[in-house]
């Protein structure tokens, strides 16, 4: 489904602080599978995830989605692709403070101009599935860690994407909540979603829900 062919990514290229975060990674990620990108801090796993999720373009190499080369696409097309295909769960969740859970979850659908009634129906169905129905009107800053993560997952799912990308999803959670997250992963797998998770938490990469672990070190496949 997603192919990366010798992708490289540099930051501050040509300057004294040039950094090659990804150095020639070639990997094929299958659909309907859960893949964990594992590696220590600075291994390039987050950068690799941004390339997979079309959040950034590679410095060189190719990224193909369903056989289509997306590496050279303009920002406008990448954004549309990102909206349709990928849902992101950030490490810090990045919910917008001051907005309610409901409003946060609706945000990715705003540019599509979906009729409000339909959107709200979809949002509340998602919140109910994730046990957040009772907190729909709660402000994002009032949520506990586990609730915030589930809200972030709901937001990632609102446009019904094929692929969910989660960056260090258990970094701010205790064991119980981490396990709960893995239960959600199992659920999403059953729904046919493809999941790509970065983590250096053994609880995640050793979980039976994970189909494949891709190890990285210093920007290379280990």
């Amino acid at each position: 489904m997603i192919e990366l062919a010798d992708v490289r990514k540099a930051f501050n290229q040509g300057q004294h602080n040039e950094l090659w975060a990804v150095r020639g990674v070639t990997v094929h990620l299958e659909a309907n599978r859960t893949t964990v990108l594992r590696g220590p801090s600075g291994s390039g796993k987050t950068t690799l995830m941004t390339l997979i999720g079309c959040l950034a373009r590679p410095t060189s190499g190719r990224v193909r989605l369903h056989g289509r080369d997306v590496s050279g696409m303009t920002e406008r097309f990448l954004t549309e692709l990102r909206r349709q295909t990928f849902g992101f769960v950030f490490q810090q969740f990045n919910l917008v403070r001051g907005l309610t859970v409901e409003e946060n979850v609706m945000l990715p659908a705003y540019p599509l101009g979906v009729p409000r009634r339909d959107l709200l129906r979809r949002v509340h169905a998602l919140l109910d599935t994730l046990d957040l129905g009772a907190h729909a009107q709660a402000k994002a800053e009032w949520l506990s860690g586990g609730q915030a993560q589930r809200a972030a997952i709901a937001r990632a799912l609102v446009n019904d994407p094929e692929v969910i990308l989660a960056d260090e999803p258990t970094a701010n959670l205790d064991t119980e909540l981490s396990q709960r997250f893995l239960d959600i992963v199992a659920d999403l797998k059953r729904q046919g979603k493809t999941l790509i998770i970065t983590s250096h938490d053994p609880l995640v990469y050793e979980s039976p829900q994970v189909d494949r672990v891709v190890s990285l070190r210093d920007g290379h496949l280990a």
Binding site: T46, T47, M49, T50, L55, A56, R57, E75, R76, T79, E80, R82, R83, F88, F90, Q91, Q92, N94, V96, R97, G98, L99, E103, M106, L107, P108, Y110, P111, L112, G113, V114, P115, R116, R117, D118, R155, A156, N159, D167
Partner: protein
């Protein structure tokens, strides 16, 4: 029927923008307050000047088309009534008559009065009718006696027959109406001489030609056309308006700097928010549209607030803050209410000059943050 996706998108953007404005209440309220104040001041000056110009034009519409004054050594002098016969023969003139009026300086209140002989229904001999402002200043009522010093140094006692309506204060604040005999005796003007002559010229297209003919027939006179008086008043108000605007320019400049600083500076929180929006699927154009809505909502709201306040200030409170600057100095200040007069072009110009620059100031700086790659948000 669901709204068009574009329209629904705008509604969502406005919803988000209103929420975003509420999240930074303090800053945005301060901005709206200062912005509205600037609009209030500018609009007050414009509304007041425009209303005065309009009022002057309305009042002058009843003035004679041509006024003929005699000049001696370049100064205004009394004019013989014998000129009337020659003026009445000028083609286009349907009526010509003499007018008697003059000024009197009253040292008691240090004010100038205008004494006028009214041809229609003059007061009886020994009686006067006074303007309401004058009556108030001198503490005069009907039946009271006003003693004025005549041309010969002798006191002339006039009994107040009536006070003129306060509604006409703009025209009659300093006015004293007397009959002809009293006027001539008081100022020592013999019969047959007038202060000036007034001509009625019904066809406005003939006025200039009539004035030329008067000058040719009576070279020692100065014909004054009504439109020239209007232009003079307009120029006076324009000048005063311009002066006030120049004085305000410092405040306006300070506001521009303040607004630019507030509108263009993105806090770390706002940058982060834009990054998140880009990451979850908002395009650069969505972010820019949201910011444009933010600029427009603040500026339009502040404009409406400021303009409404200016309207109330000018037409409800008689421009209490700086009316005297624009009205001019006088001991006898007419107490009058301006009739509301708003020029659409002026409103549009003020709107365009205040709203759009602010909206641009909001959008332009956010462009940089909006086009940045959203992957930065992964590292927040």
């Amino acid at each position: 029927m669901p709204p068009h996706p574009w329209l629904q998108r705008q509604r969502y953007l406005v919803d988000f923008t209103v929420g975003a404005l509420g999240r930074r209440k303090g800053r945005n309220l301060a901005l709206v307050a200062v912005y509205a104040l600037i609009v209030f001041v500018l609009a007050s000056v414009l509304l007041f000047s425009q209303a005065l110009r309009h009022e002057a034009a309305t009042l002058l519409s009843g003035a004679p088309e041509v006024t003929v004054q005699r000049l001696v050594a370049g100064r205004h002098d009394l004019i013989p009534g014998t000129y009337l016969e020659r003026l009445g023969k000028v083609r286009g003139v349907t009526d010509a008559r003499g007018r008697l009026w003059g000024y009197y300086y009253d040292p008691v209140v240090a004010a100038n009065y205008t004494l006028l002989v009214s041809p229609d229904d003059p007061p009886p001999a020994g009686k006067i009718r006074v303007g309401s402002t004058l009556a108030t200043t001198r503490g005069l009522g009907v039946g009271d006696v006003l003693s004025l010093r005549g041309h010969d140094g002798q006191p002339y006692a006039f009994t107040v027959d009536a006070t003129l309506s306060p509604d006409s204060a703009l025209l009659t604040a300093d006015l004293i109406l007397v009959n002809e005999q009293d006027f001539r005796a008081f100022f020592g003007i013999p019969t047959g001489l007038y202060t000036d002559l007034i001509l009625t010229v019904p066809n406005p297209r003939e006025v200039t030609k009539v004035a030329e003919k008067v000058l040719r027939a009576l070279p020692d006179t100065r014909p004054i056309v009504r439109e020239e008086i209007l232009r003079t008043y307009a120029a006076l108000f324009d000048w005063r308006e311009g002066m006030v605007m120049v004085l305000l320019s410092g405040a306006v400049l300070a506001f521009i700097i303040f607004a630019w600083d507030k509108a263009s500076g993105l806090s770390a929180e706002e940058r982060r928010e834009i990054g998140v929006l880009k990451a979850i699927g908002w395009e650069t154009s969505d972010v820019m549209a949201m910011k444009l809505w933010e600029g427009l909502l603040i500026s339009v709201f502040a404009f409406l607030l400021g303009y409404l306040a200016a309207y109330v200030h000018v037409f409800g409170l008689a421009a209490a803050l700086f009316g005297p600057v624009l009205k001019g100095w006088s001991v006898l200040y007419p107490d009058f209410q301006l009739s509301p007069h708003v020029e659409a072009f002026q409103v549009f110009t003020l709107f365009f000059l205040t709203v759009f620059p602010y909206a641009l100031a909001t959008v332009v700086p956010v462009w940089r943050a909006a086009i940045a790659d959203p992957d930065a948000v992964m590292r927040l």
